[in-house]
């Protein structure tokens, strides 16, 4: 699966300008206009609407929203879960990607197909699966009871749900890089006497750097915005399992529109800056080379 934000080169420059007759010119204008209108209505207008909706009563109420301890707590929880998930995904994503590229065993193809599945599974179903495992009558309920641990309607369950949902991103970024990198440099390091761990740390990891950067960005963006799965497994208990998205949902329900819009704007803006920041980083790297 390839979903890499804006990583495409420019059209190769033609050696001679193409002769354009007037009919082609009109066709071109018409097609460009249709596409711009479509993107304008589908994507730009809703974003403008959100900005206008949040700022409808000026900047004061927006700022007041973020002084609300409930909102701060919700955003804090989202951030905590997302960072935890990114860390776990970085470690195990590397292990899985390494296995998929370097290792060979029966059933590898099946595993490879399975990795993309979370991408297509409904978040509600993800939350529900975890409830079946960790809920009151869940499969693991007796174990959890003896350990006196809570997973469902608590933060660990929400972290698990977010892990499931973000599983493919890191792996799918690392696999192609690992494939392209090959084993020559690692073998050279080994011949020079480097141990397995040193080779991995000094040769393989640095080569994977851009995969990590993209993987972290995509994982983080997805984790910050997760809603369905954390709603079902976390229950959205105010002050305890309420993340930023769950707060937005509740605020809408309680008709606190400005608060809901402001929080939605902040969350959207945050993910957006994240993706844009990565893109800028890549451009700088490209122009340096």
């Amino acid at each position: 699966m390839t979903l890499q934000p804006g990583r495409l080169g420019k059209t190769p420059r033609e050696r001679w300008p193409r002769p354009v007759d007037w009919r082609r010119r009109w066709l071109r204008r018409a097609l460009v206009t249709v596409v711009l209108l479509y993107v304008g209505i589908l994507i730009v207008a809703p974003i403008a609407g959100l900005v206008a909706g949040a700022l409808a009563q000026g900047l004061g109420p927006v700022l007041a929203t973020f002084r609300d301890p409930q909102v701060q707590k919700a955003f804090g929880l989202t951030l905590r879960i997302s960072l935890l998930v990114v860390a776990i995904q970085a470690v195990f994503g590397t292990a899985v990607a390494w296995m998929l590229v370097r290792d060979d065993f029966r059933g590898k193809k099946f595993i490879n197909g399975l990795i993309d599945l979370p991408f297509a599974v409904s978040p509600v179903v993800v939350g529900y699966m975890l409830l079946l495992l960790f809920g009151r009558q869940g499969l693991f309920a007796p174990v959890l009871q003896t350990l006196d641990m809570r997973v469902a309607f608590a933060v660990p369950g929400m972290a698990l749900a977010t892990l499931f949902v973000t599983l493919p991103f890191m792996i799918r970024e690392l696999v192609p890089i690992l494939q392209a990198f090959g084993v020559q440099q690692e073998q050279a390091a080994a011949t020079l006497g480097a141990s397995g761990w040193t080779t991995f740390r000094r040769i393989t990891l640095p080569a994977l750097r851009w995969g990590f950067i993209y993987g972290v960005t995509l994982t983080l963006a997805r984790a910050l915005g997760e809603f369905g799965a954390v709603l079902v497994i976390g229950g959205g208990i105010q002050g305890r399992t309420e993340t930023a998205t769950l707060y937005i949902y509740r605020a809408l329900d309680e008709r606190q529109y400005v608060a809901a819009y402001s929080a939605a704007l902040a969350l959207g803006l945050f993910s957006l800056l994240l993706v844009l920041g990565t893109e800028l980083l890549r451009r700088r790297e490209e122009s340096r080379q």
Partner: protein
């Protein structure tokens, strides 16, 4: 490394999937079929498939057109358009739903105007669902088609033009055929993503059984009302759809790689 990777996958993916299949099939295939075809559940599944199919139709056409315009033409604002394509990947789907309600909600100027003058109801109705799905899946087709289009040899098109073919014939007979496989895989991916969508839909569609309730929303309702079997049955149906689609996309992509990797 293999042990760590496999146990992680088993714990995160395989055990949860097995549990839900076991629960959904606990009353046999007949029981599962009965729970899925129960009127409210069946209506939810049909609505999900219908709105997703509608989205795929529009997305395939507009996504291809957007990729074509981005690859072939120079115009002011092109880098901006290229960046806008990825935007939906960065915006939480719940926020997408909120945006659409602000714009087209029945109490908002545009929404009220559309309903009064054209009789179009968008929010709390199927068109809103389609719109939300279009927003969420916009990058999929564009980003699947764009690299292939970029790699095509344009001299073949020029040859067709010299031989007297019109722009539409050239597009249909020369440009489109190599795009067929990536286009299909992009369309199927967007369909798979749409069938499970929840965050944007719950805001845009409301939750009216038999009318605007999609399958994912139905599962949520059954979980909330502790109707365990109803939730499991429709979950299994959704998972089966997801499995099949991902399998087909995988097949297409491995065929493309074998075919010389266009």
């Amino acid at each position: 490394m293999r042990a760590a990777a496999l146990s992680y996958l088993a714990l995160m993916l395989i055990i949860p999937l097995l549990v839900i299949f076991q629960d959904g099939l606990s009353q046999g295939l007949a029981g599962l079929w009965q729970a899925v075809t129960q009127p409210v559940a069946w209506a939810a599944l049909l609505l999900t498939l219908r709105t997703s199919a509608m989205m795929v139709l529009i997305n395939t056409i507009m996504g291809t057109l957007t990729a074509y315009v981005l690859v072939r033409y120079e115009f002011p604002g092109k880098p901006l358009l290229n960046a806008l394509v990825d935007l939906p990947l960065a915006i939480p789907t719940l926020v997408t739903g909120v945006m659409l309600v602000i714009l087209y909600g029945p109490q908002q100027p545009i929404g009220a105007w559309l309903e009064r003058t054209l009789g179009w109801r968008i929010i709390f109705a199927p068109p809103g669902i389609v719109l939300a799905l279009l927003f969420v899946t916009f990058p999929f087709v564009v980003r699947a088609v764009q690299p292939v289009l970029l790699s095509l040899d344009r001299s073949v098109e020029d040859a067709a033009a010299t031989l007297g073919a019109g722009p539409w014939t050239i597009f249909r007979r020369v440009t489109l055929p190599p795009l067929a496989l990536p286009l299909t895989s992009g369309a199927l991916l967007s369909f798979a993503r749409a069938v499970g969508e929840f965050g944007a839909i719950i805001i845009v569609a409301g939750n009216i059984p038999l009318r605007t309730q999609t399958a994912a929303v139905y599962v949520w309702g059954e979980v909330e009302s502790e109707n365990r079997f109803g939730a499991s049955a429709v979950s299994v149906a959704l998972l089966a759809i997801a499995f099949t689609l991902i399998l087909v996309v995988d097949l297409i992509q491995s065929r493309r790689q074998e075919g010389g990797g266009r």
